[in-house]
């Protein structure tokens, strides 16, 4: 999830500061035209627009080709078979070796990379998963994740190296990666079911595809980050390009590639959960079932298990990256200066213990593939469900009023304006806003994307989605900037907030639907609430980082000139942090968009519902595909308007040395 903040390597267009007059003119013209043409030139939704039929026919033709052209079917089956084999081997392996081994090996790795605290954290987290009675689904999730990550790295790192070394590859990949990163998780599933049916194999493959853009982009960034002077030096010593890659570039890019691995894993974990919809095994199934019967407690337990797994994987890869980076080693002149993480002898003892356990297991046999039942009675679903039930009954008047008023006062009017305005007015206004904020190039892209949505015959639903996204983004930014400023100004607040943000960012998007649906039942408002919870954490982080990055001398200078804290914030810190806040807006929008689509599962309607319906109903397949593309176009339009690509790179580079 955090990876979406990561780099797009486009060159950054020069920002232009829009004048007040231009904005005023734009607003006046837009409002005037809206009043004049309201209700005309609208494009109401048709459930069976001709284009959808075209997609349906394409699907049928594909199925037919698959039957009639043996090699085509064989290739697809081969890919599927390989994915299935890999996923099932990983899952069976993890479950088969038994829980003591998984816990001990993870603990030993943690000990080697991060010392005792990490070892205790890792082993404890896994044991807790077992205690929740979720060992088996958790291992299925872990196995599927590892299989997908292995594939992502296998294909992604070479592609990333290529993109890092060749401008042409970079330019060719960029739009594809953009589209893949903006496409909501759910929309990935539709083509996959057609090509590879359902099961753990397709689940691993779709997860690979979702996580790989991050692998490619960050690897490329690492390769590009190798100082050219170093490379020149290597060349002048007569190294071949291959040697230079192996001995110079890869080691120096090591830490960045480590981050690529880390981000790939985190993205894979979040996607694996969604693959429950195509029969991907694991905790996602548990959550999906819980959503279907609105059992908040059960979903929260499974959600916690996912968070625990994600935290273990995150910390482990993070520490391994630091540990294996040559520069971090080189900067300590002698062994004694290095921070002591894990004393090696203890690690050896740990590994020996693991081997011992394996031997004992082999000798005495017994069932280690199931977590002992006596130790797995931990549950908190009932108290959680009790609380939810109490809130639902006793605070209904409050939650319901909030939802109704908000929908009637904010959401519906905005949606009305967007759907009732002539489509050319929305496109023109969107292009003009992009022009003022981000320049000519962005404006052209925005106009093209919006025209594409018209072409997809999904204009009305796209406008409804846009209204929801706009409202959710506004709330997200208000909360995110507020918390971000608070965290930047107050170290204690920041420290207290950090674990909450950590957990919030690792929790899969799915899980956010539950508290929202429990409180507000199914509605667009529910999707907005879930989207806000989902998108606020990264915004807080980016804003905090932005304000903190204001150079200390600047702050000092302002202070000594007599600025109060408020003045300092308004006149100095916020203006300087403006690029970071824009990036945060951009990031917030992309995340909100993804969540609003998932909201289709809880009655959020519009494009999200079209995608969900297209996935689960055969006749609506075409509509689902078109809606998936429309969401990507809408996402790119919003992204360019907020000037994402260029500025994202800046902050991503600054943020790569994680806090």
């Amino acid at each position: 999830m955090t990876a979406q903040a990561l780099p797009s390597l486009r060159r950054r267009p020069t920002a232009r500061v829009p004048t007040g007059a231009a904005w005023l003119a734009l607003a006046t013209v837009t409002i005037g035209l809206y009043i004049a043409f309201r209700g005309e030139w609208t494009l109401p939704h048709e459930r069976s627009a001709p284009l959808f039929g075209v997609f349906n026919d394409a699907r049928d033709a594909l199925a037919e080709t698959r039957r009639s052209v043996p090699w085509f079917g064989a290739i697809l089956d081969g890919i599927r078979g390989f994915g299935t084999w890999l996923a099932e081997s990983a899952i069976d392996g993890l479950i088969g070796v038994g829980w003591p081994v998984v816990i001990a090996v993870t603990g030993a790795l943690a000990l080697v990379f991060g010392g005792w605290p990490l070892a205790v954290l890792a082993a404890g987290a896994l044991a807790l998963v077992g205690a929740l009675g979720l060992w088996e689904p958790a291992m299925q999730t872990l196995g599927l994740t590892l299989a997908a990550v292995a594939l992502s790295l296998l294909f992604g790192i070479p592609l990333g190296i290529l993109a890092g070394k060749s401008e042409r590859v970079q330019a060719a990949l960029a739009p594809v990666l953009d589209a893949l990163q903006i496409m909501p998780q759910f929309a990935y599933l539709i083509p996959f079911v057609i090509l590879f049916q359902i099961g753990p194999g397709p689940a691993a493959l779709v997860t690979m595809l979702y996580a790989m853009p991050a692998t490619i982009r960050i690897t490329a960034l690492g390769i590009r980050g190798v100082p050219s002077a170093t490379l020149e030096a290597a060349r002048s010593l007569g190294t071949t390009p291959g040697q230079a890659l192996r001995k110079v570039e890869l080691p120096l890019a090591g830490q960045t590639i480590g981050i690529a691995v880390n981000q790939t894993i985190m993205l894979a974990v979040s996607m694996v959960v969604i693959t429950a919809l195509i029969n991907g095994p694991g905790l996602g199934v548990t959550i999906l079932r819980a959503v279907q019967v609105t059992n908040v407690g059960a979903a929260l337990e499974a959600g916690l298990a996912i968070v625990l797994i994600a935290i273990v994987l995150d910390r482990l890869t993070e520490q391994a990256t630091v540990r294996l980076d040559p520069r971090s080693q080189a900067s300590y002149s002698s062994k004694a200066d290095r921070p002591r993480r894990g004393p090696a002898p203890i690690a050896i003892v740990g590994l020996l213990a693991v081997v011992g356990v394996v031997l004992v297991m082999a000798v005495i046999g017994g069932r280690w593939d199931e977590f002992p039942e006596e130790a797995s009675g931990l549950t908190f679903r009932e108290p959680v469900n009790d609380i939810v039930g109490w809130v639902r009954i006793n605070l209904f008047f409050l939650t319901d009023t909030l939802k109704e008023v908000f929908t009637a006062v904010v959401l519906n009017p905005l949606e009305g304006v967007l759907t009732q305005a002539p489509f050319w007015l929305v496109i023109g206004a969107g292009g003009a806003v992009a022009l003022l904020v981000s320049g000519v190039r962005a404006a052209l892209i925005v106009v093209a994307c919006l025209l594409g949505i018209v072409g997809l015959q999904l204009w009305e639903h796209a406008m409804e989605t846009l209204a929801t996204v706009a409202v959710a983004t506004a709330i997200t930014m208000t909360l995110g900037v507020g918390f971000g400023i608070g965290a930047a100004l107050n170290a204690r607040f920041s420290r207290g907030l950090r674990p909450v943000l950590d957990a919030a960012q690792t929790l899969p998007a799915f899980v956010y639907l539950l508290p929202a649906i429990a409180l507000f039942s199914a509605s667009r408002f529910t999707a907005i609430v879930a989207a806000v919870i989902f998108a606020v954490p990264p915004v807080v982080r980016l804003v905090e980082a932005g304000i903190r990055s204001v150079p200390a001398p600047t702050v000092e200078a302002a202070r000594s000139a007599g600025a109060s804290t408020g003045q300092l914030l308004r006149k100095v810190q916020l203006p300087i942090a403006r690029p970071a806040i824009l990036v945060a807006t951009n990031q917030g929008i992309v995340m909100v968009l993804g969540m609003v689509v998932l909201g289709g599962l809880v009655g959020a309607g519009a494009l999200g519902y079209d995608v969900v319906a297209g996935f689960s109903q055969r006749n609506d397949f075409g509509m689902g595909v078109a809606a998936g593309i429309a969401i990507v176009l809408l996402g790119i339009a919003l992204d360019r308007t907020t000037h994402g690509a260029g500025r994202r790179r800046q902050v991503a580079e600054a943020g790569l040395s994680r806090p």
Binding site: D92, N295, L324, N385, S521
Partner: protein, 337 residues
């Protein structure tokens, strides 16, 4: 440089260890499709005699009741492993070609899917009726039917649209449906009958039930999609709204359907492979037949009696199967009965 070696070597050894163990593991207890099978409800004591049966479980509790009882009997009477897969109804069919899904236990119509997977692809076959009759219709809560009986006739719905308005339906009346994966004609009916209503999805069966329950308790106006067999109707007897009756072919145009839903004869679909090689498991699936009342009882156990239990389906099935009153029913499904 040399100082770094131990760490790296150790990491390498550890990873190698994981790999080796992963590769050497499992054979002992493995079932045909791997250890995932153990996740299905219950009985670790009974070894798999006949392999694994993959049952798709679609997201409504009536279906879950079928799967619970058939799964229970497969495990406890015939010694199979059962793997239940939570899937949307149409997605389930995609599991037939690859063996991800062996059995669909409650199919509602889907002539187009039968055409594709049975006729064209030849990967699935019909396995007989479940004995249940499926009824889909438009329903209102009982209090509304009692106080405003005019709501039960579709011709009055336009006059009443104002009362059904919600913040989700804008200036139209709200028509509530359930899970987005359910196949519904409601938008097409509204279109054909020129009703001033907007279809709003509740998100799931549970949310739909919750909405009807709340509407009855708080005397709110609500009209929506509902269906039998369904345990909830025993608790809150929703009243069905009269639409123009179904006639053969009146639902030909998916955009505009000026008539009610037909009654569905619910049936079972299995993969071709399972029909050919499923042995006594296939026999059981094929013979499985019960009444709407039977299904409602088990669905009620799952939803209410064992609410919140992680193995609600298994316990509900056990309770129903071990009730002597039902023994004759399920014994008749067993092979050789």
């Amino acid at each position: 440089m040399r100082q770094r070696l131990p760490t790296r070597a150790l990491a390498g050894v550890a990873m190698l260890g994981v790999l080796v163990m992963a590769c050497s593991a499992t054979p002992g207890a493995a079932s045909p499709s791997g250890s995932a099978a153990a996740s299905a409800s219950g009985s670790a004591s009974q070894p798999a005699a006949g392999g694994t049966v993959n049952i798709a479980v679609n997201p409504w509790v009536g279906y879950e009741a079928n799967a619970a009882v058939v799964g229970y009997l497969l495990e406890n009477e015939l010694g199979y492993e059962v793997e239940k897969k939570a899937l949307a109804e149409q997605v389930s069919w995609e599991g037939f070609p690859t063996g991800e899904v062996d059995v669909i236990l409650e199919n509602w119509g889907h002539e187009d899917l039968k055409e594709e997977f049975i006729e064209s692809q030849g990967v699935a076959v019909e396995a007989g009726e479940t004995g249940n009759t499926g009824i889909i219709g438009w329903y209102v809560p009982p209090w509304l039917a009692a106080e405003h009986p005019e709501v039960l006739d579709w011709e009055n719905l336009n006059d009443l649209a104002e009362s059904f308005r919600t913040s989700e339906s804008g200036d139209k009346g709200q028509f509530l449906i359930g899970d987005p994966s359910f196949v519904t004609n409601d938008a097409a009916i509204i279109n054909a009958l020129e009703l001033n209503y907007e279809v709003v999805p509740a998100g799931s069966e549970a949310a739909l039930i919750e909405a009807f329950r709340a509407a009855e308790e708080q005397k709110e106006w609500l009209i929506g999609y509902f269906y039998e067999p369904q345990w909830f109707l025993a608790q809150v007897p929703l009243e069905r709204v009269t639409l123009p009756p179904y006639e053969e072919g009146c639902d030909a145009d998916p955009e505009s359907i000026p008539c009610d839903y037909p009654d569905y004869t619910l049936d079972k679909i299995v993969s071709k492979t399972f029909a050919d090689e499923g042995g006594s498991a296939f026999e059981l699936v094929k013979s499985f037949q019960w009444t709407n009342e039977d299904q409602n009882v088990v669905a009620d156990y799952i939803t209410n009696e064992f609410a919140g239990d992680p193995d609600a389906a298994g316990k509900a099935a056990e309770k129903w199967v071990t009730d002597p009153a039902n023994e004759a029913t399920w014994r008749a499904w067993l092979p050789g009965a």
